[in-house]
């Protein structure tokens, strides 16, 4: 069975500098894969290239979702196909209430897929339930998106959006950075609640900590712009104990 | 930099304005007043070629048709342009061939100011400290320029402009007036007619000037105006750092200083221009002091040209100057860092113009104004992006610090954005010295003067760090002296 996310020899650059160099990766539906690696290796770059951020230029290779070429699509088109990125630094959008933003996003995606838009009462009911599960105060959602939110609240907002938008491929970029243990637990619970047979989760992280709570099926090491090692969950513990040094030489 | 350190030390020893002494030297003057005859006199004294005289005369005629600008926030009695000497020079034989021929009184003046005329002194200075070459200008005349041979070996031309007019006419003709056109404004026009001396610098392609260059200006003669003209050209890929320092004696009447500085920067080149200006500011009642009307402009003519203006203005009774950058080349960049201090009855109307013409140009403006006494301090700036200046970016921060209740601090920025990808950000704040912070510092043992110095240093830190290191030290001391007695 073909993987849900399939990347072949992907190379990409930012501001004339090549960051990804021939990266290949397969993530089947229903699985959680972790990407670990030293800083500057290209972990965030991978997430931006997959989601189509301007300024990130693909120089060679392919990436496809359920057999469809992802790289040929605009960012909002990729979202409608089911790609979701939980940002490492979620943005503040002054003047746009979180609820408004989320509903606009959900309806835009539904429209793009030829589905009916969600009615207001149904939307509110849906969000209320999901917010409660993530311990987000519903009133906060009437305020401008992420404005004045703490780091932990912003990350929980990302997971809330993910749970409302129900993506096929969810990329979590350093979701646990800046979180204390309690906040991380809540986020991890939210992520685990989203595991599904038709969904793939790509967890990008520098530290192993989150992976105690969101246990991966596979762990990959990204160094020097490509995957240099892959293994089971025990690979994460090995990295924790030994660091990334041994992969320095492989990263040429 | 030993010279500057000495300057700073001397400065600390004396009372208030340290450079207030007068040098008794044999001088010769042009007849008082300003007529065509005066222009011819000056040109003849400098042994200029005909084209230079014609240039001056043309400027003089244009000046007579112009009107003095009165739009700045400055009040001063009308200037009688006929009641001044437009040329004053220490009497000398045909130019000094070596230091031995220079009037010893002059050398003593410069020694008093700590300027290292004797090259050995400089070379014997602190190991590892950057050496710098000096062109010393006394009233209308450059007295001597140091390190010329060494600079010439690197291909760098550093000499008085009067010499450049004779020795490098093709360069002067090519670039003089190309950044500040003759009739650009009233004072630049006047300068074009009567300019006395100034520095000329040419750095050839790919050369990083091996030492910092400096001109020390001293106005000495009474009732004279000083009109220096500086032209600096950095050819492709060149780099030069230049410092302008100025002093003048204490006199009862006002003296006019109307200078023009033109910088030309070609592809991938960079000029760093720093000014520590300590003209005589007038006494506490506002008598005397220099009127400083200066036009300074940099033309970033080609791609990736870069210029930075750093100024510390603490003297002058009146300051009117707007060092500006024309960002013509794509990806060119201009920076302006300024500390302007006014005390007693000084008035300053100063700022910058950043004209974005090319694509992806950037500019940065940090202006710190400090007002004390009964002074007025205005920041006046223009940031503009031409419709073709795609991606132009500017960041401006103007902060004013008021010391006391009798002074004024003003900000008048003009912002003109003419395309959709320009991004301009401007912030301005006005504050005073925090009584809480002053008390805290004093409670820890600092005197009131020291506490004020500490807080003021914090306020101007962002600009001080842009000055070449040793000059930052001198500037810091100047800042402290200018504000002596302003609190309490």
């Amino acid at each position: 069975m073909t993987a849900l996310l399939s990347i072949r020899d992907l190379s990409a650059r930012v501001e004339e500098k090549e960051i990804l160099s021939g990266l290949s990766l397969d993530v089947p539906a229903g699985e959680v894969h972790a990407i670990m690696g030293p800083n500057g290796a290209g972990k965030s770059t991978l997430s931006y290239v997959l989601t189509g951020r301007p300024g990130y230029e693909v120089t060679s290779g392919t990436a496809s979702l359920a057999g469809e070429d992802l790289l040929a699509l605009e960012p909002n088109e990729r979202a409608a196909r089911g790609v979701f990125l939980s940002f490492q630094y979620p943005l503040e959008i002054p003047g746009v209430p979180a609820l408004t933003f989320l509903r606009t996003a959900l309806n835009a995606q539904r429209k793009a897929r030829g589905e009916a838009e969600i009615a207001a009462p149904d939307f509110l009911r849906l969000v209320r339930a999901k917010a409660a599960a993530l311990k987000i105060d519903f009133d906060m959602l009437k305020r401008a998106l992420n404005v004045g939110f703490s780091g932990g609240e912003k990350k929980r907002m990302e997971i809330l959006q993910m749970s409302v938008l129900e993506p096929k491929l969810a990329i979590l970029d350093e979701t646990d950075s800046g979180l204390d243990i309690d906040a991380m637990r809540i986020v991890a619970e939210g992520v685990n609640a989203l595991r599904a047979p038709d969904r793939a989760l790509l967890v990008i992280t520098h530290y192993q900590r989150l992976l105690d709570y969101v246990q991966p099926d596979r762990v990959h090491v990204l160094a020097g712009g490509r995957i240099v090692a892959s293994g089971g969950p025990e690979l994460a513990h090995q990295l924790e104990a030994e660091g990334y040094d041994r992969y320095g030489s492989l990263a040429a | 930099m030993p010279a500057v350190r000495e300057t700073a030390e001397q400065v600390l020893e004396l009372e208030r304005y340290k450079h207030g002494f007068i040098t008794e030297v044999d001088q010769e003057f042009a007849p008082k007043g300003l007529t065509e005859a005066t222009i011819r006199f000056i040109s003849a004294k400098k042994d200029e070629p005909d084209w230079m005289l014609e240039w001056r005369l043309d400027a003089f005629r244009r000046w007579q048709a112009l009107e003095e600008p009165r739009w700045a926030r400055l009040e001063y009695p009308p200037i009688d342009y006929q009641d001044a000497y437009y040329y004053a020079a220490p009497k000398a034989k045909d130019g000094p061939a070596s230091l031995d021929e220079v009037d010893p009184e002059l050398l003593a003046t410069y020694a008093k100011l700590g300027i290292p005329l004797k090259e050995q002194e400089v070379l014997a200075g602190v190991a590892g400290a950057p050496r710098y070459a000096v062109d010393a200008v006394f009233d209308s005349v450059s007295v001597v320029t140091t390190f010329k041979k060494e600079l010439a070996a690197a291909g760098v031309i550093f000499c008085p402009i009067s010499e450049a007019i004779r020795e490098h006419p093709e360069l002067v003709r090519k670039y003089l007036g190309s950044v500040v056109p003759v009739s650009d404004n009233y004072f630049a026009c006047l300068n074009s007619a009567v300019f006395s001396d100034g520095s000329f610098v040419y750095v050839p392609p790919g050369v990083r000037c091996p030492m910092e260059l400096s001109t020390y200006f001293r106005i000495n003669a009474a009732e004279s105006g000083q009109f220096e003209r500086t032209l600096i050209i950095a050819d492709k890929g060149a780099y030069v750092s230049y410092l302008e320092g100025c002093t003048a004696p204490m006199r009862d009447e006002n003296q006019l200083h109307a200078a023009v500085v033109e910088l030309v920067i070609l592809e991938d080149a960079e000029i760093k221009y720093s000014t520590v200006q300590n003209w005589y500011p007038g006494d506490a009642e506002g008598r005397g002091g220099i009127y400083n009307f200066v036009t300074k402009r940099a033309d970033c003519r080609e791609d990736r040209a870069k210029v930075s203006w750093t100024q510390v203005e603490t003297g002058s009774a009146i300051t009117w100057k707007y060092p500006s950058c024309i960002l013509r080349g794509n990806e060119s960049a201009g920076e302006f860092y300024s500390i302007a201090i006014t005390n007693n009855r000084q008035q300053a109307d100063t700022g910058t113009k950043m004209i974005h013409l090319g694509a992806n140009t950037r500019s940065r403006i940090i202006s710190k104004g400090i007002s004390a006494g009964r002074s007025t301090n205005t920041y006046r700036g223009l940031v503009s992006a031409h419709p073709k200046a795609k991606g132009a970016r500017n960041f401006t921060q103007c902060d004013s610090l008021l010391i006391g209740k009798q002074c004024g601090a003003h900000t008048t920025p003009y912002i003109e954005a003419r395309n959709a990808s320009a991004h301009f950000e401007h912030e301005a704040t006005t504050t005073r010295l925090s009584e809480d912070q002053l008390f805290y510092a004093m409670q820890r043992g600092l005197s009131q003067e020291e506490a004020v110095q500490l807080l003021v240093n914090g306020f101007v830190k962002d600009v001080l760090q842009e000055l070449p290191m040793e000059f930052a030290v001198e500037a810091q001391k100047l800042v402290a002296i200018s504000l002596e007695g302003s609190v309490g």
């Binding site: 909002n76 940002f87 793009a112 | 991004h423």
Partner: protein, 345 residues
């Protein structure tokens, strides 16, 4: 230079020009060769104004003709829909109007500038006086015609403890100038001068404000947002002057503009003239395009580019509109924003 005399006498030489510092970006003399003839009376019926739905008394000033005095007595509360109309036959006219709000009185002034004519030259010269503890909220909705030249000058005087709040909603004209000059006594008085300009085609709008703090303890808070596209030109001049001795003044000014097309222009001059030291004064000015990161964030969530731009621009402008206190006026303002943005995006 005298605008009033220029209109009264037809002498265009008296119109403000580029050489007048305050009019450098809103030259009238170069634009108008011959002054239009004096506006005749308009006797036909008029369409309802933008504030017709509000619970307010309507006062009409048509072609410069109408009441020249509005009084709100001490302790009285009035809401007035003041319509300054340039009728289809408008030429040149000048309207003078004095507004007085007595001690403790409250005025909501829903002021609409309606330009139904073409090629007109109009001016309104207004004085607004607030007594001690009086309040006024003035919402100006300027809907001039594309070919009209309209200048509105309001001089505001406040007594101690008075509260003056203003929102100007400008869509521009051939030349439009909306000027507000406030004498602020300090003395616990509060001034809010907000504005929104949304300009397209070849329209020009100039919002100019001057606030002079003459005494101790006063607050001025200003937020202006602008969006310009096509070949339009937005101008903002804001001067805050704090006189000697006017300590404890708190004056903040913010002007933020978006330029959406390469032939549009924004000119700004946020000025501070400060003669007192125990004050908190600041201004911020930004001109630029929409935040790229915010646009990508919205796109990654599935929102198409046009919709994302519209959402962000609405939010940008909404920050100022949300500050309008009168609920009915705020709804009118929101609808006006939606219509102006929807029309052009």
């Amino acid at each position: 230079m005298s605008l009033a005399r220029a209109i009264e006498t037809g002498d265009v030489g008296l119109l403000p020009s580029r050489r007048d510092e305050d009019w450098r970006w809103s030259d009238l003399r170069g634009l108008i060769r011959v002054a239009p003839p004096a506006s005749p009376e308009w006797v036909e019926p008029l369409a309802p104004g933008p504030f017709s739905g509000a619970d307010a008394e309507e006062i009409l000033v048509v072609n410069g003709r109408g009441p020249d005095l509005i009084v709100v007595g001490p302790g009285e509360k009035r809401a007035i829909a003041l319509r300054l109309i340039a009728a289809p036959n408008a030429g040149s006219h000048l309207a003078r109007l004095a507004i007085e709000v007595g001690e403790g009185g409250e005025l909501t002034l829903l002021e609409s500038h309606e330009g139904a004519g073409q090629d007109y030259l109009t001016a309104s010269d207004m004085t607004i006086e607030l007594g001690a503890g009086a309040q006024a909220e003035r919402i100006v909705l300027a809907a001039e015609s594309e070919s009209g030249v309209a200048v509105s000058i309001a001089k505001v005087q406040l007594a101690a403890g008075a509260r003056f709040e203003q929102m100007v909603l400008a869509s521009g004209a051939r030349r439009e100038r909306i000027e507000t000059v406030v004498e602020h006594p300090g003395a616990g008085a509060f001034v809010r001068l907000d504005g929104v300009y949304l300009l397209n085609e070849r329209r020009h709008s100039d919002i100019t404000t001057v606030v002079t703090h003459n005494g101790v303890d006063g607050i001025t808070d200003q937020l202006i947002k602008g969006v310009v596209q096509d070949q339009a030109r937005g101008v903002f001049q804001g001067r805050i002057l704090v006189a000697k001795g006017a300590d404890q003044t708190d004056a903040r000014m913010g002007h933020h503009a978006l330029i959406l097309s390469d032939r549009a222009e924004v000119d700004a001059k946020p000025e501070l003239e400060i003669w007192a030291d125990d004050v908190a004064c600041a201004h911020g000015n930004t001109v630029g395009a929409l935040d790229e990161d915010a646009l990508f964030y919205a796109a990654q969530r599935g929102i198409p580019p046009d919709e994302a731009r519209a959402l962000l621009i609405q939010a940008f402008v909404g920050e100022a509109v949300d500050r309008v206190r009168h609920e009915g006026a705020r709804e009118v303002a929101r609808a006006w924003v939606a219509q102006r943005l929807g029309a052009s995006l």
